[in-house]
Amino acid sequence: MKYLYYPGCSLEGTAMEYDISTRALFDVLGIELVEIDGWTCCGASAAEAQSELLSIALPARSLAIAESMGTSIGDILVPCSACYLNLRRAAEETRKDPDLLARVNQVLEPEGLKLQGQKRVRHLLDVLSNDIGAMGLAEHIHTTMARYLVAPYYGCQCLRPYVVFDDPEAPTSMEPLILATGAGVHGWHMATKCCGASLMNIKPEVAQKMVAAILSGARGADAIVTVCPMCQVNLEGYQGRISRSAHRDLHLPILYLPQFLGLAMGIDRRALSLEMNLSNLSAFF
């Protein structure tokens, strides 16, 4: 099995450990990730706030490259939820609107690219839960994680607005994966509540309150696992400041899902880049 791989900018920078652990995980699973040649930024939340066409054309560029890489490799796998949504949106909107597709292709044409809409855009969580599944993972689990109670945090953009692989309001897809490691699932109400996203840059005081509510909701759990670099950095980057303003200790380990699964599969901690996380992961060393 092979997937086209779109890491996205974050996974080259602030979320390197997400990239590293994802690759490590798939390596153990025996699945090849083929990085899209010369992929470019998806536009993040900036493009859509500046220009409608740009917000489609930017991700479309990477999609078109992916298509040019042939049909032998399967779907496009995207770990970053923001990239996933932007790529997916470009794919869906151009499929619905032929005029838009034509305009996008007008932009792409000078580079010798053409978007045809052949590739499916899949989120990492989608692939893990549907293509591999808890059973598929179980074969590779060597270390029980029974000591841990884990709070699955889905965030927004892998679930919404496109309802693809899970209930956008009450998602459950992470649960079998966590359970497969032997760990327990922390039942909570915050699993889909927005982390504040780019508000953290623009209105940090607002976003930090949102994160505080999420961290409070996870009390009792040993860790939160995420599937989005934005969520990850927002949840772990400001724990000190948030604890101070909430007058409560809200520190909590935050891991990327492949990091957590990787631990259960016995992958070396360094190969999962656990040391790069901003939150204190001593409980997992």
């Binding site: 209930d167 956008p168 309001e169 009450a170 109400h189």
Partner: protein, 1149 residues
Amino acid sequence: MAEKSGSALVIGAGISGLRSAIDLAETGYHVFLVDKAPHIGGILEQLDHQFPTNRCGMCKLLPAVEPDQASQQCLRRGLFHGNIEILASAEVMDISGEAGNFCATLHQHPTLVDPNRCMGCGQCAEACPVEVKDTFNAGLSTRKAIYQPAPQALPGTHVIDLSACTHCGECVSVCPTGAIRMAAADRKKFKILVADEASSVREQLQTLMAGEGFLVDTAESGEAALEKLKSEAFHLVLLDIKMPDMEGVDVLKEALAVQPSLQVVMTTACAAVQSAVESIKAGAADYLVKPFSEDFLLPQIYRFYEESGKGRQRELSVGAVIIATGCRYFNPAEGKDIFGYGLYPDVVTHLAFERLISGTGPFGGRLVRPSDRRPVNKIAWIQCVGSRDLQTDSDFCSSICCMSAVKEAMLAREIGGGQVETVIFHMDLRVFEKPFQQYLDDAKRSGVRFQRCRVHSVACSEDGARLAIRYVDMDGAREALFDLVVLSVGQRPAEDAEKFSEMLGLELNPWGYLAPRPFSLTETSAPGVFLGGAVSGLTDINDAVIRAGAAACGASKAIHKSGGSLETVESADDGRDRDINREEPNILVILCVCGDRLKALIDMDVLLDRIQTEPAVSQCLEVDGLCSPDGWAKMLEELKDKPVNRILLATCAANAYAHRRLEIADAAGLPEAAVQIKDVFPSDWFAGGAPAKEQTPYNTGYVERCLKLAIAGLKGIHWGPAEKIPVYQSALIIGGGIAGMTAALAIAGHGFRVDLVEKAEQLGGNLNWLGRTIDGADVAERLQTTVSRVNDNSLIHVHLNSTVADIRGSVGRFQSTIGEGKNAQTGHHGAVLLATGGVEGATESYGYGKSPAVMTQKAFETARSEGRIDPAALSSVAMIQCVDCREPPRNYCSRVCCLSSLKHAMYLKEQNPDLSVYILYRDMMTPGFYETYYTQARRKGIIFFPYTPEAKPEVVVPGQNGDGASRLRIRANDPIIGQSVEIEADLLILATGITPVLPGDLMSKLRAEVDEHGFFKEADFKWRPVESLAAGVFACGLALSPRLIDESMASAEAAAMRAVRMINRQYLTAGRKIAVVRHSLCSGCQLCISACPYGAREIDPEFGRIEVNPLKCQGCGACAAICPNSATVLAEGSETEMFEMIDAAMGPV
């Protein structure tokens, strides 16, 4: 009884189906009433309370004139009508042929219980080990696999739920009458082939099913399976969807080619469910998901086994078909489930709530939470769940939920003694029918709270004890806690809609409902096939009953047109009319002794001795085993030539025999009333609860007392010759608008003369100025066709420029004076229909009359059609809804105005997209599929401002207050932005609604009532919506209430059907249970006249005596109760009889 040749098929025995069936049966046709469910009544079986009375009232569907045609008993218990054959648990598989000559193929689902033997004792259900969710109680409780489908139905015949029954046989062994058939012998002949690659599956299934006695063979590949199917016949194949050598679907197709009648069930793993669903389309009977548990699998196998039994197909020849299969409801657990339905047990649908508060419901009528049975203090209703929601593909309104929520909230408050807090979260309140607004006001007064918003979500409260509703008010998002949340779930099309659409080539609307033709609510594109009730969109009871009447009318016309005779045939005298009043009571007592069991418990000699001393008893007959067909037949045999005039059948479980009373009566040559079936000992005497032997004297006394009570009652049975009143076989219709003309055509279509009286110089009424309907149908064209059909019909006599000057008489015999002066004619009619219509309401509000720019909707419509409106010359138009409406004194919604405004607004916007249109409204009344026009109007950019009666818009007319402005100015408030806005408009269109035109003098001469707004007062708004309590007087169209054109026409057809039923015979037969006056005792206090709800009594002007009209009298007994000295009595139930019965009941034990 008079009979008419011709028969009809009514599919679906809910309210609508029942109404159609009874209408047709009363008119004399034979009706097959088919329902998939094992009981009749549809959803009404589950609803105890209906708005606006908060009670039931279904019995009002029963015939009121000639009441003896049907058993006058609670319809939720059952319907027994001589002309109606009820086929429960049956499904229509195919219909072929044409109007007047259809052939319908029926499949009878097995219930495994013989209804002729089952006495409803319930011992089987006690013994049954299988417990499943009780769908009757909306899943709030459980029931057994063998169960009584509706708790109130009589006799309480049980059925087996084949999807749950494991065929363990426990019930068979406890059934005292051997009513349950679960013979193992036939299973050896039922051949099953298991085709699966996995040997483990093959072995599991083979062991399991062979263990049950079936003949099982296996195949490991598709090729092998086909080989076996080619060589021998199988009944059932369990086929894996993925065979090693070929796709399961291909195996299926080939298998069906080899054995077309083969039942193939696909087996599949979870992941391949999608392809399993596709295989159904390819002809598979069903699919099952692996892995199977035994408990799940066996019932399914048995289901196929039982369904394949012989004699399940039946063919019916009918002249017309009415489809009244109702609708389904939205399942809020589907999709996003934002309200936590299925997740939190205290989130229920409105149907479940009805069961929850029902006395026969899971909690005995107590208002408690399903989760923990604790009392409920605060309830929320969430409206528009799966309605008016594009997210759930429901761009329609479900029409009934506003009122049902209001009703439920009022009931909850009543049950809770006013302590229960009730909040309804709603969008628009759709109070679009005549009594709705007033009911809503009552609810507000009684303390029901209303919150206008769309609820965002329901979640568990933080402490986990309650439900938190998240919603928005003008201040932003809020959260409120409740104990119970009721979801007003919207409609979804009937499961069968698509099937019938394919079967008969019927049209479906965009949401999958069977769609009627333009200008009709019931006619389909297939002649002879009609739609009734909610199958074409959910309706309230009133509407359903009217549509059912219209459908019956259409069916009746179709049968008549194709040669179904309207000649009445008198059936031979068979004792049913024997006058036993004049005979001394001479009673035969039949006692079922149940083998030796009764003798073991009582002293039979003593009993017989004591009974024989009763002078009225001529003979006492002991019989055995009435619950067996043999015993029953033997008993009937014994009755021949017995010189008795009354029969008492004494048994256990009398209810089980109630519907067979006529058999006994016919066998003995007696009227049915002369036969009584009574319980004289408790059924549990024979079911393990038998009392000890030493109690024999007590037991004997017990039976004696029961017998003597029954004998005393039987002595008082009154069955004389029924009075027959000759009928004028023609109808008078007052009003020549669309309703009057439609009714005239419908009645004339049955071959009767009609006098159609119109006061104007031309026919057509309001249709003369209406151009188009909102759905674009051409009104003028329709009017023209209708007028010429009326004029061309030789049976319809049109009197233009005429009124009815005087009218006398009552049902069957009205005499009228049509016209005045020397042109006056005298008319003789059996029925009178008022179709006098309505006019646009007058107003002085909002500057009307002060400026030509302020006009009514009618004025706009007229100006538009005359080309006096130039949309291009306008830049801004405002409309105000509910002008002088929906508040006292005109406290009703006029139904048509919102649609008119939308129609006008969209017209203007289409003609001139730059034109701004503003609609100021209270609640937009776009029920049903009209909702989509509201959506369209918004999409076209029409801007809507809601207002409340407390803060109405203000209008400043140019020149007023010394104002120099050239345009109208309308000031209103926008609640969302919380600020007032001012609209400058070139034109202001006022929706002033409809007021009725009903001649008061004629109404009082007809003894028919007028409601407080001047509309015709229905005998009952819901159940008898087109007739007056004064029999023989009907109304339709706007005289009844504000309505749209197609609704007016439906009411006209419904009224015509009822009228035809009055005039289609030469004589009307009075009921036998009616009141009589003993003039020698009467003091003339006239209390009885006031007390009679049917206007059946009046003072004879000649003798000053009180007279009873036998056709109008319903034998209710109100007169007898109010008369102090029994000067008026009911035919049955005089004091002497009552005293005797009381005396007997208080006798020794």
